[in-house]
Amino acid sequence: MLPARFEYQIVSSVEEAVAAKTQGGDEARFLAGGQSLLPMMKLRFATPTHLVDINRISGLDTIERHNGHVEVGALVRHADVAASDQVSGVVASAAPWIADPLVRNLGTMCGSVAHCDPEGDWNTVLLATGAEVIAQGPAGRRMIAIDDFVVDFFTNSLADDEMVVALRIPAAAGASGGSYQKLERKVGDYATVGVAAHLELGADGRISAAGVAMTSVAPINCKARDAEALLVGNAPSAELFAEAGAAAAAASEPRDDVRGTARWKRQVVAAFTRRALTEAAEQAQS
């Protein structure tokens, strides 16, 4: 299958990329890994008139740890995240579960986040960690909290002339841990259910911060806020995690589909939340 015709432009700097996108407007798209965009273009679901290829911009392919956070550049592939010792917790846990090994060699984390597929895994992970998106436009850079970035399915809050240059994921100073649990029918399939959990423990051993988010069980990736509220201030325990699981299941809105019934998926949410929290706490305590 061939995509519809488009103008193709290779850019060598973020400034050049932003200028090209500004000129092309909402009919222009950035090309990074292309593992979601090109399939959509081949099926003619997407017919951009301009493709701005950012793959030759240098300096965007790094994962760097700064004070209190990890920055993942726009050209970091899923496989790079999986292989990196700079990431930990729920991000490291989710990386091997993105798509399949071949797609992971080309697809980028930033591209996946910007794509806002409601059944994508990364936005769930970022919601659980409270990450931010660094966007650059003609006026400079701004930070967008992931909650504000994910607007709706396949819709982010970027302006037409803005580009995602990096993700900023908080790296807790104290004890922390995280886990992503994903049920998929086969490698490369969307999650039937996915749950991301991130925990931080205070000096007293109690949970000082908690993030729980879900994939494929609501119209878009979403947080389980009731579960998070239950966790904070309490000591990790099997009972607490079971309660949080029940709260997450209650907050989920799964639908009957080819992957299973809504009732069953809700049970999976409860079990996965419990498991993800248990793993997160074990990591934080070790």
């Binding site: 399949d100 071949l102 060699n105």
Partner: protein
């Protein structure tokens, strides 16, 4: 747009439309038809080639993106010394039936062994999890990659001695 892609050590220059897929450049411009087209929707992996040593789906990459890069297809596995160990292993261990997925499986196997000379059963299955085979049930594919890895690590040990 004029592009030059180094395929199996030879530069292939062609004037391509930006929307041309890498797999089509390989099959129609370079006339190397060992790289197959299966699902054409980024699912089956039979179009796998190595770009700068890494296995990717060539139906989901534009030819223009490969300009100036090194691509290895199944035709590039064989050397003057004969079959690549992964090819010999697929032959010895009956790692194929219809053969449609075989070029991709061998390239993924070769790339895995380059990176990890002693892969476990699980690591092999993980590495080929983006490649579908509808004949073999994968058993002999895994065995073939194991056999090739054993040859590669024996060879390396021999070279050290």
């Amino acid at each position: 747009m004029e592009i030059t892609v180094n395929i199996n050590g030879t530069d292939h220059t062609a004037d391509v439309e930006p929307r041309k897929l890498l797999v089509d450049h390989i099959r129609t411009d370079a006339r190397l038809t060992g790289t197959h087209i299966g699902c054409d929707t980024t699912s089956c992996g039979v179009c796998t080639v190595l770009v700068d040593g890494k296995p990717v789906k060539s139906c989901t990459m534009l030819a223009v993106q490969a300009d100036g890069r090194n691509v290895t297809t199944v035709e590039g596995l064989k050397s003057a010394d004969g079959l690549h160990p992964i090819q010999q292993a697929f032959s010895d261990e009956h790692g194929l039936q219809c053969g449609f997925c075989t070029p991709a499986m061998m390239l993924v196997g070769a790339a895995l062994i380059d990176e990890n000379p002693n892969p476990s059963d699980d690591e092999i299955r993980w590495a080929i999890s983006g490649n579908l085979c509808r004949c073999t049930g994968y058993m002999n594919i895994v065995k073939s990659i194991q056999a090739a890895a054993a040859v590669a690590s024996n060879g390396a040990a021999g070279a050290d001695a």
